[in-house]
Symmetry: C2
Subunit: 73 residues, 2 copies
DNA sequence: CTGTGACTTCCAGTCCGTA
DNA sequence: TTACGGACTGGAAGTCACA
C-alpha cells in the first residue's frame, strides 16, 4: 500500500508550505484559523485526519479556495 | 450562523451530482467507496462533516482528483 | 517557535431497522 | 432507491505540560 505519500502527509506539507510562504508562524496561523497551535502542528506533520469544516477554515485562512489548497494532492 | 450555503451542503450536492452522473445508486457507490450506505446518504444531505481520508476515498471512487471534486465549493 | 504524548469530549462512521 | 431513526464504537476535535 501507500505507493505515494499518505494524503495526510501530503496535505500537511502543502499547508506548511503555504503557511510559511505567507510568513506566518504556526502559532500566528493557528490564531487566524482559530485552532490550537498544537493541532495545526499535528496537521502539518500529517498526524491529523481533519474533517471538511476544518479544511475549509484553513483554506479561508490561507485566502484560497479548497480546490486550490488540494491542488497536486 | 448566517451562511448562505454551508460547505457540507454544497459538498453533498456536488457528490450527489457526480455520483448520479455515473449512474450509481447510493448503495452501489457506498460499496465502491467502502463506506456505509446510510453514511453516504448523510453526506449527500449535508449532515456529515467527513474527514480527509474519506474525502479522498470519494474522489477516487469518482475517478477524479480531490481538487476537482472541490471545484466550485 | 515547534514537536510530542497524553488526555477528555463528542462526533465520525457502522449496523440494525422502518417507511 | 432513498430518507431517516436508534444504538453503538472508534477516532476526530481540542487542550495541556514539557522537551
Amino acid at each position: 500500500m501507500a505507493k505515494k505519500a499518505d494524503i495526510l502527509i501530503r496535505f500537511g506539507e502543502r499547508v506548511r508550505e503555504l503557511r510559511a510562504e505567507r510568513g506566518y508562524s504556526q502559532e500566528a496561523f493557528a490564531h487566524i484559523c482559530e485552532l490550537d497551535r498544537t493541532y495545526v502542528g499535528g496537521i502539518e506533520r500529517g498526524e491529523r485526519n481533519l474533517a471538511l469544516r476544518n479544511i475549509e477554515r484553513i483554506a479561508e485562512s490561507l485566502d484560497i479556495s479548497i480546490s486550490e489548497l488540494m491542488k497536486g494532492l
